[in-house]
């Protein structure tokens, strides 16, 4: 075998072959939903088999966007997600910096506290949270939802920031301190640029969890005008029958913002590292 052919073969075996399997596994459910979303609802219920929709219709999209008021839910989701992510991003940066750079009393306890919040199924806490939010007059308010999103997003994202910042050599902080940077400047002008790929990952992660969050919004929001997309979609699933094609269309719409965000973020993941590393 010629060396060049061998090299190509290795590349096919180690890169393209597993990638194809992966893409198929990931892709099939999504493409199936995409195909369903363009079909006529009646043909889905009857159990007809069509790989590609025939005839193609956008009626499902029109239906969920206007009749089902997904347009309104979309705006609500945007408000709560952006509001929460902004706070989560910066607090996680602070926590990550504190945990990875300082040996302070209570640091391990703080980390244990962060982990402890993750150990309880949220559904168990729901009734207590509900009663508390009613008392605080924050039930049925998007602001209240934001506060809960922040509390539930902070632990994981802070720990993630800690491991990202931990990967940055301390020498760059110390060099900046010698140059006269104060602590705030070190965080924003040295750490933040160096940890940018990690920071964008955290932001993307926080956004997507807020965007998809269902249980809190479902329990606390009673006013249908304030529903986020996730709750709105659930109302498409009926007790006895479900309009599968409309649901598929709603799901595709709900997927667009996270996917767009990710398409943008993944560039940072690629270009990112080494940018802030110490040279020499």
């Amino acid at each position: 075998m010629k060396p060049k052919t061998k090299k190509k073969l290795i590349r096919v075996l180690t890169l393209y072959l597993p990638m194809t399997f992966f893409l198929l596994f990931i892709g099939i459910p999504l493409l199936w939903a995409l195909s369903l979303s363009f079909r006529e609802g009646s043909s889905v219920i009857k159990g007809e088999f069509q790989f590609l929709p025939d005839p193609v219709t956008i009626a499902n999209y029109v239906y969920v966007w206007t009749r089902n008021r997904l347009n309104r839910y979309f705006v609500n989701s945007m408000i709560t997600s952006f509001g929460s992510v902004f706070v989560i991003g910066f607090l996680a940066l602070f926590n990550g910096y504190a945990m990875s750079r300082f040996a302070f009393k209570g640091k391990r306890i703080f980390m244990v506290i962060l982990l402890m919040t993750q150990m309880i199924p949220l559904i168990f806490n729901m009734s207590s949270i509900f009663l508390m939010m009613v008392k605080l007059k924050l039930a049925n308010s998007l602001f209240g939802i934001c506060l809960l999103h922040i509390a539930s997003g902070l632990p994981y994202n802070s720990l993630m920031m800690k491991s990202f910042i931990g990967g940055i050599p301390r020498e760059i902080d110390e060099a900046a301190a010698i140059d006269g940077c104060n602590r705030a400047q070190i965080i924003f002008k040295v750490i933040l640029p160096a940890v940018r790929p990690g920071f964008t990952t955290v932001i993307a992660y926080a956004f997507i969890t807020c965007w998809n969050e269902y249980l809190l919004s479902y329990t606390l929001l009673t006013d249908a005008k304030k529903f986020p997309v996730s709750v709105g979609l659930k109302y498409l699933v009926g007790e006895y029958s479900t309009d599968y094609s409309a649901l598929a269309a709603g799901c595709i719409i709900a997927l667009i913002p996270p996917i767009l965000l990710f398409a943008y973020v993944q560039k940072h993941l690629v270009s990112g590292m080494n940018a802030g590393a110490v040279k020499g």
């Binding site: 890169l15 607090l91 919040t117 168990f124 806490n125 269902y214």
Partner: protein, 300 residues
């Protein structure tokens, strides 16, 4: 020069940084949590809340001595977490390595591969119901087309296949999480390390074990830990796909807790189950962190 992060420097600066987070967590996580725990020593029943009284450790005694379902649920939980975490780590690592290579259309492939991660629980369940469904499901359609019509079944309701069916659906959504976390870790490896290894003539297999794995240790430990906790407490997918059935094949501990306290209203007993779930996870976390020296790495 004054050391920036001296161990002995008396500074409240790190405390100022974590204070807002602590406030959030105490109010919105710990207060509700401990309130809930309080019910575990009562016989609170939603059907008869007035008869609530303190019963001491009676709920716990009952769980450990009489409750057969608890044992079954615990075994299922361990099986569930084991399958999910091991398979997700294995495939997540492979795909992170693949997506870290240079090839045409990498950005597009990455975006596509991470898509399930962006899919909500409701949608994941719906997508997989549309695949497993006996009548309209894609899997049965394909089997019939391929001439395996005799194999068609209601995959999520069949005793033999239900557990596997939920495991695969959860993998679909979990693998991208590992891939993205590990890919983030891969990006932190200085390329110079590989370059100098190439000069020294190291094989890529050797590089993987000598450079990639040690450098990514913290990401791997962390992702595995979080995933174990999340899979252990996860309810949404199993609940909507199989509801713990058929014949308790997919009844995990949190699902059992949910059924007891929310569906049947036995909040006291359900709270006791939650306390046990919490304790099991705490013990696991402590052992895991000790074994891996997490939080005591070179960067501390």
């Amino acid at each position: 020069m004054k050391a920036l992060y001296s161990k002995h420097a008396k500074t409240i600066f790190p405390w100022l940084l974590i204070l807002p987070t602590l406030a959030f967590l105490i109010v919105f996580c710990f207060v509700p949590m401990f309130r809930g725990f309080g019910y575990s020593v009562t016989n609170y029943d939603r059907g008869n809340p007035k008869a609530t009284e303190f019963v001491g450790l009676a709920n716990f005694v009952r769980i450990f001595t009489e409750d057969q379902v608890f044992v079954k649920a615990l075994v299922n939980s361990v099986k569930w977490v084991g399958c999910e975490v091991v398979l997700q780590l294995f495939f997540g690592m492979i795909f992170a390595l693949i997506l870290n290579q240079n090839f045409k259309g990498r950005g597009l492939v990455r975006t596509f591969c991470f898509a399930p991660w962006a899919v909500s629980g409701v949608l994941t369940t719906m997508l997989w119901i549309l695949i497993y469904n006996e009548h309209i499901g894609l899997l049965n359609h394909v089997l019939r087309l391929a001439g395996f019509g005799h194999l068609t079944k209601a995959w999520a309701q069949n005793i033999q296949t239900a557990f596997g069916a939920v495991v695969v659906a959860e993998l679909w959504r979990g693998i991208p999480f590992f891939t993205i976390t590990l890919l983030g870790g891969l990006q932190t490896i200085p390329l110079e390390l590989y370059e100098s290894a190439r000069v020294d003539g190291g094989s890529s297999w050797k590089n993987f074990w000598l450079i990639t794995i040690p450098y990514m240790k913290e990401s791997i430990i962390f992702a595995t830990l979080m995933r174990t906790i999340w899979e252990f407490r996860s309810v949404d997918l199993i609940m909507t796909m199989t509801d713990g059935g058929p014949v308790r094949r997919t009844l995990t501990l949190p699902i059992y807790m949910y059924k007891t306290s929310i569906e049947n209203g036995q909040y006291g007993y359900g709270a006791a189950l939650t306390v046990i779930l919490f304790l099991i996870l705490s013990v696991y976390v402590v052992i895991y962190l000790k074994a891996n020296h997490f939080g005591k790495g070179v960067n501390e």
